[in-house]
């Protein structure tokens, strides 16, 4: 039996505003409990919400970036349910008329093809607080600092057909919101989290199967594993004659399995209705145009530009546009160097990336600035140093030993390009290795590399490799 997986994702992106969506309390991760919960966030009697304009602007930015319709009129509703982390007994959320509707996001599949995933809607809502389950004499503690934090819930169509596609979509959206600067993308802190609706059906079946909703997946790996587990579970269940029930499930990363959340099994009746404390949100052309004007170049467009403008491979262009900062850095290197985009790409995606990775740093924290890296590449370009020596210089740059020229000078790394000087070294090497010379001349061509190595070694790597090659070729002929 062939099975098809059907997945839809609901992604919650915490918007990177300074204050909450309906109050002037700060949003900062890790504050002392309940010190960032003002009277509004606490749902005190008589308090009222007023919308943070920036949250609406950010939602519009996302909408414009995914080719969505921006609702000229959207409505905040109340979703009513009782839970200790929900101080008012309702969550303010957009229900019938969300601010962003009908967008799309294309993802690159492993086979190199692209797939367009529909985005049903994105709506503004407030986050809830947190229940801390450490034991306070059999009680739970409630921290409402997070209550009222603006969220953009981005709901996909059930267009995803595998865990890998789901992850690709989530990564793409993650890249997008971070590019836009509307979300810090920090998944450990819960700034970007996902609920996955997963079902399976027999291939060709026009009907969707019954879905389970896996809540609160806060890493790409968990999304992939949780979906894979869930798909397996559902197929096993059906194949052994069982039935999937519609329910909320929780992924347990320790056990690598999903589990039914019993507390949420009770059928919810959220009694949505328009929040009478808030009027319809009406967006005019000026607002939308201002949001559009604030959009950065989007990742796909930037990638395409890098391919055409800099002649980069799709792979390199993809790597260099993975984040806005990396793309900016790359372009700054190219600009400072005044050309050689491929050389720049090799260094940014190669040595620089490796060093960043090793030190677990972001490009923004790179100790080597774009200008300094360009300074190094300039010396490769003008043959002051070889590519090999350049790696040594780069290490020194990374260690903060000044700019490339200073390092080259101090360490005497200038490349030897004087033909007579190189010839002298070659002569010495040939003279010192008569056996190898004989073998080479007898037809053992492979020994050429040996001679190159010896010459480079003798010149402490400073001899110009091309010249070494050419001269050595001549001399070895005898």
């Amino acid at each position: 039996m062939e099975w098809e997986t059907v997945i839809g994702l609901e992604i919650h992106a915490q918007l990177a505003t300074k204050s909450k969506i309906f109050s002037g309390a700060a949003i900062a991760y890790g504050a002392e409990p309940n010190t960032q919960a003002c009277a509004i966030d606490l749902g005190m009697p008589g308090v009222l919400p007023v919308l943070n304009r920036e949250a609406a602007r950010m939602a519009v930015m996302l909408g414009l970036s995914i080719g969505a319709e921006i609702a000229r009129r959207s409505v905040f509703a109340r979703k009513n349910y009782f839970y200790p982390d929900l101080p008012k007994g309702y969550q303010i959320s957009q229900y019938e008329l969300p601010i962003v509707q009908k967008g799309r996001l294309s993802i690159d599949l492993e086979d190199g093809t692209r797939k367009v995933i529909g985005v049903t809607r994105a709506h503004l809502e407030e986050d809830a607080g947190k229940s801390l389950h450490e034991d306070f004499h059999g009680q739970s503690g409630i921290d409402l600092n997070r209550a009222g934090t603006p969220l953009l819930e981005i709901v996909s169509e059930p267009d995803l057909r595998s865990a890998k596609e789901a992850v690709a979509y989530m990564k793409k959206l993650h890249q997008m919101v971070v590019y836009l600067g509307i979300c810090d993308g920090n998944m450990q802190e819960g700034s970007f989290r996902c609920d996955a609706n997963v079902s399976v059906r027999r291939k060709g079946d026009p009907q969707f199967g019954t879905r389970a909703e896996i809540k609160n997946l806060n890493s790409f790996r968990f999304v992939e594993r949780a979906i894979e587990f869930e798909v397996e579970r559902q197929i096993d269940l059906i194949e052994s004659g069982g039935k999937v029930v519609q329910e909320t499930r929780l992924y347990d990363p320790d056990q690598g399995e999903t589990r039914s959340m019993r507390s949420k099994e009770e059928a919810n009746d959220y009694r949505y209705f328009p929040d009478p404390d808030l009027l319809p949100l009406v967006l005019d052309d000026d607002f939308i145009n201002a949001a559009r004007a604030g959009l950065p170049e989007l990742p796909d467009i930037k990638k395409q530009r890098f391919i055409t403008q800099y002649g980069l491979s799709a792979y390199d262009a993809g790597v260099l546009t993975a984040s806005r900062e990396l793309g900016d850095y790359y372009e700054a290197v190219v600009a400072a160097l005044g050309g050689e985009p491929k050389l720049c790409a090799n260094w940014v995606t190669g040595d620089l990336a490796a060093f960043l990775n090793k030190d677990n740093r972001e490009i923004a924290d790179s100790p080597v600035s774009a200008v300094r890296l360009a300074g190094l590449l300039r010396r490769i370009q003008d043959q002051t140093i070889s590519g090999k020596i350049a790696k040594e210089v780069f290490e020194a740059l990374w260690a903060g030993e000044g700019d490339a020229d200073a390092i080259i000078e101090k360490r005497g790394l200038r490349q030897i390009t004087d033909t007579s000087a190189i010839e002298k070294v070659i002569d010495g090497v040939i003279a010192a290795n008569p056996d190898q010379l004989a073998q080479y001349r007898a037809g053992k061509d492979k020994l050429f590399a040996f001679f190159v190595g010896q010459v480079m070694k003798a010149s402490k790597g400073k001899a110009n490799p091309q010249q070494v090659n050419d001269l050595l070729m001549e001399k070895l002929k005898g």
Binding site: V47, L48, P49, F82, P84
Partner: protein, 484 residues
Amino acid sequence: MHEKTIAQLGAGLAAGHFSSEELTRAFLERIERFNPLLNAFITVTAEAALAQARAADERRRRGEAGPLTGVPMAHKDIFCTDGVRTSCGSRMLDRFIAPYNATVVEQINAAGAVMLGKTNMDEFAMGSSNETSFYGPVRNPWDLDAVPGGSSGGSAAAVAARLTPGATGTDTGGSIRQPAALCGITGIKPTYGRVSRWGMIAYASSLDQGGPMARTAEDCALLLGAMAGFDPRDSTSVDRPVPDYSAHLDQPLDGLKIGLPREYFGAGLDSAVAQAVEAAIAEYRKLGAEMVEISLPNSQLAIPAYYVVAPAECSSNLARFDGVRYGHRCEDPKDLLDLYTRSRGEGFGAEVKRRILVGTFALSAGYYDAYYLKAQQIRRLISEDFRRAFTQVDVIMGPTSPTVAFNLGEKADDPITMYLSDIYTIAVNLAGLPGLSLPVGFVGQRPVGLQLIGDYFTEERLLNIAHRYQQVSDWHNRAPAAFG
């Protein structure tokens, strides 16, 4: 001194005939003497009042006094008062000391008025007789066997009995106008959005509106001037300048077109009340006004629509009272569900529970369209009725309440009959219009109120129309015998 109106007290303070401290003491003494009889106050803030009074006197010495500086008044216990219990007439908030002031309270404080205390009210403003208060019913100073009306019954009784010259109230379906009528005073519910709702504990957010209650329209104008205004903390507050409500009180009424809706004078209206109302209308004719018979065809749907919209909103507004962060919490909850259900079950009284249940039902899956959505459509029809009427007339007049004050306990066990006592006031809230009630006579010893309904933001005109009548009548000057 207690016989004087706010305007007169203001003049007396300005002339130095008495100090605010003397005035405040006088009213505090009256409260001490009469409140046990009326139960109009839940909390009396004597010490704070005297401190405020002394500050007002000081302010006056500095030459910085306004018309309300040093004038005592009271707040309905629905307005949050920083550091003072704000109970909303409920056991749920019996020990709730508000950590902030309502905007209305802030503004009245800024005007230099002195708060005597917090007045009794129907629990969470749900009621028309003040009998749903956790603190017991308020009695009508005109007849202690009668209710004062509700939900702002404490404010109305306190003003009528001269325990305070003025008070704040709130009106969701008639809660300022109906008790004003039943207690023989003047009260105005402003246009929705005119007075900030920040810090005013919500019953039904799209209907609630604060307003003043006092003996005269002139006093209401002074108080409304201090209460009204744009508040950036309330998304439904309207950013529009506040006129000087006292400036045009004397404007003549020649040519004023008064609409008399035939639906407000039909079956259900007590004939003696009708007589008093008609006599007042005749007086208006003498003042130069012209009567136009109009129709508000959907009037009979106001109560049904209201009893969906208001409970729906209240069921959600009152969900925050869960025993977690403030308010009543049951003893030893065995689990979370027990904490919620028992805290709320114990904290709320029967009428509040009824409305929460009705609202929960009306919003629940499968019933939303038939109830909530339908009511919102009816609401549109009702508001269209008024819109059409105001193309023909300047103001609408009719009885505030179909009867005079009923007896305590008379309707307490029958919610439907109780609801019908707001039949003429509720439509105004659904449409968001301003409405005013002023005293126009008595049936026996119980007062009758005339309701004026204006177009949006015509408070100034309503006060003018009421004031002109009060210049040729003296109902507003009569005091209940026991409290004279």
